[in-house]
Structure formats: structure tokens, C-alpha cells
């Protein structure tokens, strides 16, 4: 019975128009949440598989000794594909010419993710393939071919074996896994390794087990294998494989999380505004039902069923529309991505439905509580209120739902906290400002000679609750849009500047002090204005605060590895532009030669080094003790030369040093570099061009994805602003009609409304600018880790747009009614 009543009432409310805005806002809420989730879900799946290209698999188990076959068996248990590789360095020899090569012996299945680019004949370009060299054959990089003067079809010697060169290696996905792969690559079949007799006891070898498969299975495999790892073994996934890839992915995820949060907040604001007329009408109906003898329980049941029906309708429609929207987005994104995005999983549907019920019930619950207590007298006297509940109680459930959704979407407490603080402070600030402004404008209105303007100004105070609610709604909308614009610009700029077209693509190390001037000349000749050459002093960290450090001092595998290996120390007068000082201070010019040290943040954390600690290094048998005077953050995705440990100039001059440089080598200048290398055979050149292309490609695709999500959020924001206007339309139409009955012209009626909305727009934009700038500052510095600059033109544009567009939108919403004879308006109210 109550279900039939609930359905009938809901239907009649829909017909009367009260419910339309609420349903519209709910569908919009669910649509935006599911569409963004579907899309980000697919992007995330795409990124994970794309990121996997850099490793050659989804996950790699690395070791300095042969891996137990039980790992392979475990991977098979989780239905994962596997492949193994063995990497070591050895001389590739052709007659009298020889060159150190990074040998990689491959087994069947390599690469599990991505493909190799190999040129098989001089006439044809490189092909993309997913296979490995046959037995007795090798594929080599052009740099190796040049160095030992061989070409396709020639032979070369490696250890005790001779191989035929059948391919020139143009692209290797897994090359990205190791920044310090100094020597050119040589790929061979792992079945040939034993015959070369190169792997002896004590050889430096890297054994890898690559796995790939369903993300869930990969995760389970990772969780299962991690506790079983022996000394010298570790697991690497996309995120810890390369700091620059991790950094890029983290930033992208942060941004997509922000986009989803924006949808949530915008939608809830719209629903709060849209629910008011529906609730008011429901109060009347409830009073009528009470007159007809309905019990409190019946009324509560009817309301609950109405809420459930609404949530179900909104959820289903929203999810369907969300799926449709993301399909369209993915279609365009897919075309730009060149490959199609992977199919989404259906988690977003669940998220959409849960969101629909959570938001709707959190908004309706306080009203349901109030409505079941509605006094019957209300049907006779509208001044009899339902049992008043405290205002904060009304908004507590929805605040909790927003907080939960944001926490879940933000993934990090820091980001969620910043966002929530932003939302809370904007509500508070907007409320206070709106209150102060309404009072001030009310006073002005009494002195204003233009009666329409005066009416509009005074209306702000007359409808204080509505004014504050609208300002909060508008300013939240403007704030999130501004925040998106600010962070998007910052993010894009940061990425573009961190990896410009002329970012260094070659590193030269092992430069002797006497060779530095010639290297500088060479770099100037290829077009770099002021080449930078850095000293590189290799030393081992042996003590911290006079306490001897060994691998046993640490429990963490990474820390053990770090302390066991040699560090590259360098000196610098000024800090690199892409570094950021986190603690302490950079040295002054008069501190040259002082025993100070600036450490990179991650290393300091891994080795538990604090500001002020003294570190003792063993450099070629001599010891030096340095005090940590600053801790820096390094942008590894800038691809510039960076060092974990840096001292002031002259501090390390007594120690033997070699030099290194990083520069951009234009495509056609390979021969010039080869000439330099022939002149100085001691140089080692590191080619990071292909790695950079991979990083750049990921960044470009992410920028596109962000652009899509961003566009969608803007559309959602604008629709929400319109919904807010429509929700208050009836009151304004009645008022405008009444003004005209009392003798106001259409112009006066319109001017009064435009004045009111221009003020609402201006205050909302001011609040939004203040909060969005503060939030953008916080996010830039502490979350996205990019420099921040207040965007004056954006702020002014927002202000101007709000002052013009908000009243225009209001006028648009009720413009048709301004021309209708007032009698018809009064009848229709």
C-alpha cells in the first residue's frame, strides 16, 4: 500500500516539476562519478600495461644469483606468463676492435609486455617483433656495431663463442629498467650462454624472472613471493622500476583522483540545492496524509521508499549514461592513443549505485526524520514547522558521505585532507563573506537612488540563507574549476619543462680532468650554449655520526644495497634548478671547501640520515667526514644529471675525480659523437634517447587523458551551476511577477535580479579565488611537487566571468517569464 502511495506521489511530484531538478542532479552526480571512474579505470589499466613495457613484464624478480625454479612454478600457479633473462657485461670483439657490451640473454616469451624493434636487413626499416634471437645469432645496438665496425651478417666474438649478427636493435622496452646501462646492448639466446664460458664464480650477473598476467594474479604473486625472497633478491614493478616513471604515474593518478573528487562535490552541491523544493512539497503532502490518518510509520515508509526509488532510478540512469559518456570519451581517446583502451571492469557500476544511494539518503535522511514528525496543523498553517532539527544535524550525514567518498578517491590522507580543508574553509569563508556582504550591501541599498539595484542588493540579505547557499554552491563550483585549471596548467607546464624537446639524451662519464675543455668545446659545437660538466668522485659511506655502517645495520633490502655500493659524490656552487631544498640551507659562496653535504631525500630516508648528521666516506682509501647541511628533493623525471650527494666546490678537490656531462645530441650528430669517442676511447656514453621517448610518450598520452577528464568535469560543473539556478527559479519568477504587478517594468525586474546575481557571482568568485589559490599552492608544493605561481589573469577572468555569466545564466533560466503577462505568472504559481 505504502509502496503504491510512494510511487504515485513520486510520479505526481515529477509531473509537477518539483522532482525533475533533483532527479537531474542525481543522474548527473552518478553519471559524472561513473563516467570518470570508468574512464580513469580504463586509463589506469592502460597505464599499467603501458608502464609494463618499460619492464618487459608486469613484475620482475631480480637477483644477483640464479633464481630458484620454485619462483617460476609459483608464477605458473597464478596463471602468469613467465620469461627469464640473464644480464652481464662482456667484451664484444671483432678482430682488433672491441667494446664492452651489456649482454642480455633471453629465453622464450621475451618480452612479455611491449615489443622489440629490430632491423633485419639494411634495406628495410626496423620491425616490431616479440621474439628472441635464434641460437648462434645476436642482435646488437648500432652504437656497438659502429664501435667494433661490424654490420648485419658479420660475426663477432663473445667469450669462447662466435656469433652471427642477424639484427640491429633499434628499440628495447626493458632497457628503461636500468639507468646505468652504460654500454651498448647485445642480445643473445640464453641457450648459448654456457658455451661462452663467461659466467664464472664471482661474475657480476643480473638474473631476472619476468611475469605478466591479470593484475589481480600479479598482485597475489607479488604478495606471496615477497616474504620468500632470499638475500640479494628483490621484486620490481612499474612503480619502483624507474623513479621518473613512478613520478609521472603518481602525478597522473593524483590528478585523476582530483577530477573524480570534483565530480563528487559538484554533484552533491547541486543535489543539496535541488532537494529544497522537493522537500518543501513533501512536507505539505505529509501533513495532508497525517490529516487523512496516516501513521508516522506509514509516512516514514513512504519517504524511505521514495528515496530508495529515486536512488535506484538515479543510479541506473546515471550508470548507463556514465558508461555511454566514457565510451564516447574512450573512442576519441582511443583514436588519439592509437591503440584502443582496455575494456573497463564493472567496479564503477557498483561505485555508481553505492554513490547514488549514499548521497540521496544522506541528503534525505534528516528530512525523512523531520517529515515523519510533521504536525497535522501544517496543512492549515504553513507557519507550523516540522519539529526543528539542528542545522548541523541536517548536513552531518552528507558531510560524512562526502568525506568518505573523497578519502576513498584521494587514496592519500594528505590529498583528501587538503581537499576537505578546502571544502570546509570555502563553506565557512563563503558563509562569513556572504553574511558580511549582505549586511553591507543592504546598507548600500538604502542609499542607492536606483530602486532596481537597491532591490537587488537588499534581496541578498532578505534571502540570506539562500544567498549563502548559492554563494557556497557557486564558489565551490568556481573553486574546483579554477583548481583544475591551475593544477592542470601547472602539471602540464611542469611535465613539459621537465622533459623539453632538447632534454639531455646522452650522458658521457669517465671524462678525465684534462679532457674537460675538449668535451665542453664538443658540446658547444653541437649547439649547447653553456655545457655543464660535473665532477664525479666515487666513495663508499662507511660511518654515520662515527658509528660504522654495514649492510647489517639495516633491515630493509634497499638500504642494505645502498650502503654496500659506491656513491657518486659531486660538487656544485649552486643547486640544480630542478632540485628543491626540503631541510637546511644551501651553502654560501664563502663556504667553498667546507665539509658540508647536501643529500637527496629518498637516500636520506632509506639510510635514516638526518640534517646535522656527520657522514664518513671512504674515497680511494682516504676518509672524509662531511656534515649533512641540507636535504633536497630531486626531479628524476627531468632526465638531467643529478646526484644523491653533493658537496660545496673545492671540498673534494684532493680526491681523484672523473667528470660527467649530460647534453642533447641532435639526431644527425651521431657521427660527431663517434669521432669524439674515437679520440677519447676512455669515455663511456649512456644513450637515454629511447628511454626518454618512452617516458615522453607516456606523458603525452596522460596529458590527453587528463584533458578529457578535465573537459568532462568542466561540463559537469556548468550543468551543476545551471541546476542550482533552476532550483530557485520559481521563487524568482513569483517575485518578478509581483514586482511587475506593483508597477515595476520588465527592465527593473530584470535589473533587480541581475544585480543580485552579479553580487552572488562576484562574492562566489572572490571566495573561490582565495581558496583555490591557497589550495593550488598547497597541492603544488606538497602533493604534486611542482612550483606555484599565482595566476593573476586566471583570477581576473574567473571574477569577470562570474560577474557576467552568473546573472546571465539566471536571466537565461527565467527570461521567458519576464515577457509573459503577470496575470499568467500569478496563476501558474
Amino acid at each position: 500500500m505504502s509502496f503504491k502511495l510512494a510511487w504515485q506521489q513520486l510520479f505526481s511530484q515529477y509531473k509537477s516539476g518539483y522532482l525533475r531538478v533533483l532527479v537531474f542532479a542525481l543522474v548527473l552526480a552518478v553519471t559524472s562519478i561513473t563516467a570518470v571512474n570508468f574512464f580513469t579505470n580504463r586509463i589506469a589499466l592502460y597505464l599499467n600495461s603501458e608502464g609494463g613495457l618499460l619492464l618487459g613484464g608486469d613484475l620482475v624478480v631480480l637477483s644477483d644469483h640464479a633464481l630458484s625454479s620454485s619462483y617460476n612454478a609459483l608464477a605458473k600457479q597464478y596463471s602468469l606468463q613467465t620469461s627469464t633473462t640473464v644480464e652481464f657485461s662482456s667484451m664484444a670483439i671483432n678482430g682488433e676492435k672491441n667494446q664492452l657490451a651489456e649482454v642480455k640473454a633471453l629465453s622464450k616469451g621475451f618480452p612479455l609486455r611491449g615489443d622489440l624493434g629490430v632491423q633485419f636487413s639494411l634495406e628495410k626499416p626496423a620491425q616490431s617483433i616479440q621474439k628472441i634471437p635464434n641460437k648462434g645469432e645476436v642482435w646488437i645496438e648500432p652504437r656497438l656495431a659502429n664501435a667494433i665496425n661490424v654490420q648485419l651478417g658479420d660475426g663477432l666474438e663473445l667469450g669462447a663463442s662466435r656469433f652471427k649478427i642477424t639484427g640491429i636493435l633499434a628499440r628495447e622496452p626493458s632497457r628503461g629498467g636500468d639507468m646505468f646501462s652504460f654500454a651498448p646492448r647485445l642480445m643473445m639466446n640464453s641457450a648459448d650462454v654456457a658455451a661462452t664460458e663467461l659466467l664464472q664464480f664471482g661474475s657480476r650477473v643480473k638474473y631476472q624472472l619476468l611475469v605478466a598476467g591479470e593484475p589481480k594474479n600479479v598482485q597475489q604473486f607479488s604478495d606471496n613471493i615477497t616474504p620468500q625472497l632470499q638475500r640479494g633478491e628483490r621484486v620490481q614493478d612499474v612503480k619502483n622500476a624507474r623513479p621518473e616513471i613512478k613520478s609521472a604515474l603518481d602525478k597522473a593518478e593524483t590528478f585523476l583522483g582530483l577530477s573524480a573528487m570534483v565530480s563528487v562535490v559538484l554533484s552533491v552541491v547541486a543535489m543539496l540545492l535541488a532537494s529544497a523544493p522537493f522537500v518543501a512539497r513533501s512536507l505539505e503532502t505529509a501533513a495532508l496524509l497525517r490529516c487523512f490518518g496516516a501513521s508516522k510509520a506509514t509516512i516514514k515508509n513512504i519517504m524511505l521508499q521514495q528515496a530508495a526509488l529515486l536512488a535506484l532510478i538515479g543510479g541506473v540512469l546515471g550508470c548507463a549514461l556514465g558508461f555511454l559518456v566514457q565510451t564516447i570519451l574512450a573512442y576519441f581517446a582511443g583514436r588519439l592513443f592509437l591503440e584502443s583502451l582496455p575494456a573497463p571492469n564493472y567496479l564503477p557500476v557498483l561505485i555508481g549505485m553505492v554513490t547514488s544511494f549514499a548521497i540521496l539518503f544522506s541528503i534525505m535522511w534528516p528530512h525523512i526524520q523531520a517529515i515523519k514528525n510533521v504536525p497535522t496543523m501544517r496543512i492549515l498553517r504553513s507557519d507550523v514547522e516540522a519539529k526543528p532539527s539542528k542545522i548541523w544535524m541536517n548536513y552531518l550525514p552528507v558531510a560524512l558521505v562526502i568525506a568518505t567518498l573523497i578519502l576513498w578517491l584521494a587514496k592519500t590522507l594528505q590529498l583528501a585532507g587538503a581537499f576537505l580543508v578546502g571544502v570546509f574553509s570555502i563553506c565557512l569563508l563563503a558563509g562569513l563573506l556572504a553574511y558580511a556582504m549582505s549586511n553591507a550591501l543592504f546598507k548600500i541599498s538604502q542609499k542607492t537612488s536606483n530602486n532596481s539595484v537597491s532591490l537587488g542588493l537588499a534581496n541578498l540579505k532578505r534571502r540570506l540563507g539562500l544567498t549563502v547557499a548559492q554563494i557556497i554552491g557557486f564558489s565551490l563550483g568556481v573553486m574546483v574549476l579554477m583548481l583544475l585549471l591551475m593544477t592542470k596548467n601547472d602539471l602540464m607546464q611542469s611535465w613539459q619543462s621537465s622533459l623539453p624537446v632538447d632534454a639531455p639524451n646522452r650522458f658521457i662519464i669517465n671524462i678525465q680532468p684534462a679532457q674537460v675543455p675538449q668535451v665542453k668545446d664538443f658540446i658547444k659545437n653541437i649547439g649547447v650554449q653553456s655545457p655543464q660538466v660535473f665532477a664525479m668522485i666515487r666513495g663508499r659511506l662507511i660511518a654515520k655520526n662515527s658509528q660504522i655502517l654495514t649492510a647489517d645495520s639495516f633491515e630493509n633490502e634497499r638500504s642494505k644495497r645502498l650502503v654496500a655500493r659506491e656513491f657518486n659524490l659531486s660538487s656544485a656552487t649552486v643547486m640544480q634548478a630542478d632540485n628543491k631544498l626540503l631541510q637546511g640551507r644551501w651553502w654560501r659562496a664563502d663556504e667553498a671547501g667546507a665539509p658540508l653535504l647536501s643529500l637527496e631525500e629518498d637516500i636520506a630516508k632509506a639510510l635514516d640520515i638526518k640534517l646535522g648528521d656527520t657522514l664518513t666516506y671512504d674515497i680511494a682509501g682516504s676518509k672524509i667526514t662531511l656534515t649533512v647541511s641540507s636535504i633536497r628533493k630531486v626531479e628524476w623525471d627531468s632526465m638531467r644529471a643529478n646526484f644523491f650527494a653533493v658537496t660545496p666546490p673545492n671540498t673534494l678537490t684532493t680526491f681523484p675525480a672523473s667528470y660527467m656531462t649530460a647534453f642533447y645530441l641532435p639526431k644527425n650528430q651521431d657521427n660527431a659523437l663517434n669521432l669524439l669517442l674515437q679520440k677519447f676511447p676512455n669515455f663511456t656514453v649512456i644513450d637515454v634517447a629511447s628511454l626518454m621517448n618512452q617516458v615522453r610518450e607516456i606523458m603525452q598520452k596522460m596529458s590527453l587523458a587528463i584533458g578529457f577528464v578535465f573537459t568532462f568535469c568542466i561540463i559537469a560543473g556548468l550543468v551543476v551551476l545551471y541546476a542550482a539556478l533552476v532550483a530557485t527559479r520559481e521563487v524568482r519568477i513569483k517575485e518578478s511577477a509581483m514586482l511587475r504587478v506593483l508597477g515595476a517594468s520588465r527592465r527593473q525586474a530584470a535589473l533587480a535580479m541581475l544585480t543580485e546575481f552579479a553580487c552572488i557571482g562576484a562574492v562566489a568568485a572572490t571566495v573561490a579565488i582565495i581558496v583555490a589559490s591557497s589550495l593550488a599552492y598547497y597541492l603544488s608544493y606538497f602533493v604534486l611537487d611542482i612550483p606555484y605561481q599565482f595566476n593573476v589573469s586566471l583570477a581576473l577572468s574567473a571574477l569577470l566571468a562570474a560577474i557576467i555569466l552568473v546573472p546571465l545564466a539566471a536571466w537565461w533560466a527565467i527570461r521567458a517569464y519576464l515577457n509573459v503577462p503577470p496575470k499568467q505568472l500569478l496563476n501558474s504559481i
Binding site: R463, L466, E735, M738, G743, R747, P821, P822, Q824, L826
Partner: protein
């Protein structure tokens, strides 16, 4: 005597005995129809009416007879399909909506059945509204004085929903009289009130009307109320009949 027993003389030129050449409102061949084609409904047909300045006229008729429509046309709240309305000797119905609004603001006052107070404004602000629109510097003083006249001097800062129906209608009457209009239109002013409250409201309305010497055009189906006017006209089949009781 019931209004149904009124002797009806359809479509005659209705002209009272006094002030014949000082018309406050003159309607000539006024017609209003809604809908199109076969579904056209004629609400008013070639209606003529002449109301003298200072006169009080009641327009009676059954529900749906077009009383409120006639009032809207006379007050320029709606456009006639044909015919014309002149106000104080000047063309009114042919003016633009905005020009009519200006005349309304300067010369007319309104009292509605459903009060039509703005819920966001206090009693005082509601009464001040037409004065502010007319840019009256003394808006607040006049509004307070008028509210005191209607017995609401203590309830200036109350909002409509905090007032009873009778009190709301008194605010509406104060709003109508505050600018001292030449013509007052009242549409079923007691329609939403109980008998006792209704009577008090009517007393108030007529005493204020008398004091300000305004022309009163009142639409009602309340017999007793109609009888308090100098002239009663009946609207039937879209036309006015001389409703003077016989």
C-alpha cells in the same frame, strides 16, 4: 436575496448616475478568449464597463465566469483579445507591458485572494516595496504608519509565514493602500479567510477606501461583501449585467 435572482439586462452600457464624465476605468467592447481553433474558449465577449472616480463597484459571478480575468484586464495584468481599456481618460490596454506597469505603480493598488506576499520579506518590507519602486524617500515611515493603521504596528519584522491568514491579508491591504492609489483592485479579498476575520478585513478595506477616496473595483462571490459596494455588476456568459438589485 440571492444574486441568481438579480434582474439581468445583458450587455447594456453601464453608467452610474454620478461623475459620468470622470471615468476612472472605461472598458469598451472588451473580449478575451483562450486556446485556438475549435478549442477556443471565450471568457469575455464585447464587455463594456464605466467606473467613475471614487466609485466602488463589485463584480460578482459564479466560479469560472471570468471575474478574475476581467480584473486582470482592467488592471493591465493581461492583454485583451480585442477591445480597449482606458484609465482616467487615457488609453491603457494598448500600452506596452512596461508602460502599463508604470501606470499600475503610480495609480493602482491590489489585494489578492491568496495575499501574494513575498515570503522573503518582512511585513514592513512587503509594504515598503511599491513605495520603493516609486522611489519614495519616506517609504519606511509611510509603510510603518500604514501597518499601524491596519493594526500590525507590533508585527513589522514578522515574515508572512509567521502571520495568520487575516494578518497576512491586512499586510496586503496595507501594501495596497500605502502608496495612496487612485484605483484599488481587490480579487476575492476574503476568499481565504473565515467569516469573522473576513468581515474585519472588509471593514478595514472600506474604511481605508473611504478615507483615501479611491476607486474600488472588487471581485467576489460573497453576497454580503458585494452589497457594501455602491454598484454590483454580474458577469455571466462573458458579459456584464447591470446587477443593481431589483
Amino acid at each position: 436575496m440571492l444574486l441568481s435572482e438579480v434582474n439581468l439586462k445583458p450587455n447594456i452600457q453601464l453608467r452610474p448616475n454620478k461623475l459620468t464624465h470622470n471615468s476612472a476605468i472605461l472598458a469598451t467592447n472588451l473580449a478575451k478568449s483562450v486556446g485556438e481553433g475549435d478549442s477556443t474558449i471565450e471568457i469575455l465577449r464585447n464587455l463594456n464597463l464605466d467606473v467613475a472616480q471614487g466609485e466602488s463597484v463589485a463584480i460578482v459571478g459564479s466560479s469560472g465566469s471570468g471575474k478574475s480575468t476581467l480584473l486582470s484586464l482592467l488592471a493591465g495584468l493581461d492583454n485583451p483579445t480585442s477591445g480597449s481599456v482606458t484609465v482616467e481618460g487615457s488609453q491603457f490596454s494598448s500600452l506596452s507591458e512596461d508602460a502599463r506597469a508604470e501606470v499600475r505603480g503610480k495609480r493602482m493598488g491590489f489585494v489578492f485572494q491568496s495575499f501574494q506576499l513575498l515570503g522573503t520579506m518582512t511585513a514592513l518590507e512587503n509594504v515598503m516595496l511599491p513605495l520603493q519602486l516609486a522611489i519614495r524617500a519616506d517609504a519606511e515611515l509611510v509603510a510603518i504608519a500604514t501597518l499601524e493603521k491596519v493594526g500590525l504596528g507590533e508585527r513589522l519584522t514578522h515574515y508572512p509565514k509567521q502571520l495568520s491568514g487575516g494578518e497576512q491579508q491586512r499586510v496586503a491591504i496595507a501594501r495596497a493602500f500605502a502608496p495612496q492609489p487612485a484605483i484599488l483592485f481587490a480579487d476575492e479579498p476574503t476568499g481565504n479567510l473565515d467569516i469573522a476575520t473576513g468581515e474585519r478585513i472588509i471593514d478595514l478595506l472600506f474604511s481605508l477606501n473611504k478615507a483615501s477616496n479611491s476607486t474600488l473595483i472588487l471581485v467576489t462571490h460573497d453576497e454580503k461583501l458585494a452589497q457594501r459596494c455602491e454598484r454590483v455588476l454580474t458577469l455571466l456568459n462573458g458579459q456584464l449585467s447591470n446587477g443593481q438589485l431589483v
